[in-house]
């Protein structure tokens, strides 16, 4: 079957197997491998994208459910060649080790800062509770989210 949707602001169409997830469609049909495929059961958060502006695990959305809707992936966060503030903060804080969990964390953090520019540590931990990093702890990640929020809140 065919699915037509908007991905990162662009109208796209894909031919899919009806039982596949939005994640598979993004990675294997639309050439957007930024969203990572790890657990396929919503446990790890590495496939996080925005569906009509709402944070979701793309592995738990049936690709056909995205028909006519707008998806933003990690590839769509940077604008005009400039990193998204969250991406820049992750680089500057050293919040990236192997990098596999990073796209999901960046999308989830961007979603958090969108509604709450200056979250507390507890708010960050709750918002990112569904994103697993297995390389290291979460301290640098939390530092990065705070820095990105403060930078965004301070900018005009």
């Amino acid at each position: 079957m065919k699915v037509a949707l908007t991905v990162n602001g662009e109208a796209r169409e894909a031919t899919i197997w009806p039982g596949e997830s939005l994640l598979v469609m993004l990675r294997d049909r639309l050439g957007l491998p930024g969203s990572k495929n790890a657990c396929e059961q919503g446990e790890c958060g590495s496939c996080a994208v925005l569906l009509d502006g709402e944070l979701v695990c793309s592995c738990l959305v049936l690709a056909a459910q995205a028909e006519g809707r707008a998806v933003v992936t990690v590839e769509g966060l940077a604008a005009n060649g400039e990193l998204h503030p969250v991406q820049r903060a992750f680089v500057e804080a050293g919040a990236v080790q192997c990098g596999f969990c990073t796209p999901g964390l960046v999308v989830a953090a961007a979603d958090l800062l969108d509604s709450n520019a200056t979250p507390t540590d507890d708010e960050i931990r709750e918002a990112l509770a569904g994103n697993l990093c297995r390389c290291t702890g979460y301290a640098k990640i939390i530092d990065a989210v705070k820095a990105a929020g403060t930078a965004a809140a301070g900018s005009p």
């Binding site: 079957m1 059961q41 996080a48 979701v56 738990l60 049936l62 459910q65 709750e126």
Partner: protein, 263 residues
Amino acid sequence: MDVLTPRTLDEALRYRAEYPNALPIQGGTDVMVDLNFDRARPETVINLNAVRELRSWRRDNGAVWLGAALTYTEAMESELAALVPALAEASRTVGSRPIRNRGTLGGNLGTASPAGDALPPLLIEEAEVALASVDGERTLPLSEFLLGPKKNALATDELILGVRLTPSAQPQTFMKVGPRNAMVIAICSVALVADRERDELRAAFGSAGPVASLVTAPLGERDAFATAVASAASPIDDVRGTAAYRRHALDVLVNRAIDRCLV
């Protein structure tokens, strides 16, 4: 495999009648796991995302109607949380934010897991489940809808419309035991309301028997209530915990919940 996407409830019910083996999908947080891991290969999937009649919630003549497509995120929003506070607390313990954005009340009822987090809070408020088919609607108490682990009273031609309850407006809470505060399937859980108006304690446990179940007692029996709830449960040993631990934890949780609700 085919995906049907009805635009109205009528259309959805017609599909349901025509394809009795079809698998309905709403938020996908349970169904997609089965599809991703090849545990389910339905010939037909009915995608309910476009059916507006199932969405949201409303006040209804002193009662509250919760559509089957109500998400946990929506159940946590302040206006509804004020009416059904234990449900809002339970919703906050479900998965993570992206799971709560997609997972729905109807899905929790459809999956009918003994660990379904929405079930104990709905049981203590004596919720009724509304079901529909092309032949009409029927309503049954949630306690009669839940038949066993992953078994419910939904017929193959029916869809879950939603849940109706009359808020007790009495102090209530929800508690859940698990290894983390997030991303946890309950080892056991409890919802409790201290209903002064009816002189009644109502508690419902999850993950401590084949179905989430309700236990009641007069307020005067508060000292014995935790033991009564723990004895009413029939927990099993499984990967998440032992039966003995679950029974002990229920006793502790019910006492804490009483302390929280009866100040």
